[in-house]
Symmetry: C2
Subunit: 204 residues, 2 copies
Amino acid sequence: MGPPLRLTRAAAKARTRELLLAAAAQVFAEHGYAGASVDEIAAQAGYTIGALYSHFSGKDELFLTLFDLHAAGHLRDIEEIIRQCTGDPDFAALGDYLATLADNDSCRWALESEFRRHAMTRPELMARLAERRAAGQTAIAGLMPGRRPGTAQCAEDDAALVITQLEGLILQRRLNPASVPPGLFAEALRRFFPPPTWAGAAAL
Amino acid sequence: MGPPLRLTRAAAKARTRELLLAAAAQVFAEHGYAGASVDEIAAQAGYTIGALYSHFSGKDELFLTLFDLHAAGHLRDIEEIIRQCTGDPDFAALGDYLATLADNDSCRWALESEFRRHAMTRPELMARLAERRAAGQTAIAGLMPGRRPGTAQCAEDDAALVITQLEGLILQRRLNPASVPPGLFAEALRRFFPPPTWAGAAAL
DNA sequence: CTATTGACATAGCGCTCGCTATGTGGAGTA
DNA sequence: TACTCCACATAGCGAGCGCTATGTCAATAG
């Protein structure tokens, strides 16, 4: 048969699940885990709690599902940016992109803070988050140039520095956009990726 | 009269207030604002909710008091570290200090995440937090050397970068101490405070 | 067309919450 | 010592919570 005019049963279910997850992200971000009510999450998605409990076993599973999705995909954007810093990067454009990344998805960074707070008090969540971040850091380390040959600095350390620098800047821009203009993102990246020829000659 | 053997009435009241605030910080950090119960906060301090409500108008005032105390004092430690970076700094010692700063006060950084999440959804809190941080940043900017004369980089931008770098590293160390050894803090500081004579000669 | 399934709605239970009204005992004062 | 006061304890109320039991109706299969 051709494409159905209406969504098929399974497709509709998958769509409902996505809507519930998106609504949960928004409500968890705004009120925190304990402050978020399953009624509000379901209502935000356009359903009632019956729909929610037919897709998830409860509030906790909903939160943990979001946690894993977030932990898996969080460093991907940063990795992509770092990848574009190799070769002949356009730092100004990357700075603009980072600024929009910080400005959009308003609930994303609030969720990030909520996840971190949760992870700090629940060892198994901390382990999962640390593992995902370690994988992302290693991927980024593979992209970092082995510069400053005089120092014993390794690529893993460079990656940790650039990740935390960009995350810190993003969180700061969430609090006060004026204090972190796009040019500051660009400047931060420039410091980790100096012009290849000059730096090689000037070092030591 | 000499110092009283037992605490005077006002001193005991002040001590109770401090105990309540410390307990509140711990419980808010562990469970978040909505998840924290005033009963647990009072019990953690060794009192009941009667004591809590005779010192604070309610849960919200308790939280806002902590918020202001935190916002006021948060960048002081970083400012002190940056001050010690001027002159002839011992980066290794400062790195050790930053590591212990991240490791101790476990509830402090969980509270930091909770405050940020709250600020992201409440404009008046965001304004207050941004104002305090701007003041701290300006103080730190006054300590930053006006290096790299070739670039249009100003001290305020340098301060924003070093603050967000250190905060990002601290938060990362909370999640995974092994990924941020004390030496990485030291390396981060070194990059913002290069040896004075060499850098001046090597620049441009 | 009929039967069946299951995605989702509805109502309500038990529990905990923030907060208040009220009680009480020891520190302060003369 | 006797009176006063207030820091703190205690009991309970109304509201909202997560979750479950049950109902409903449209999409599917035969």
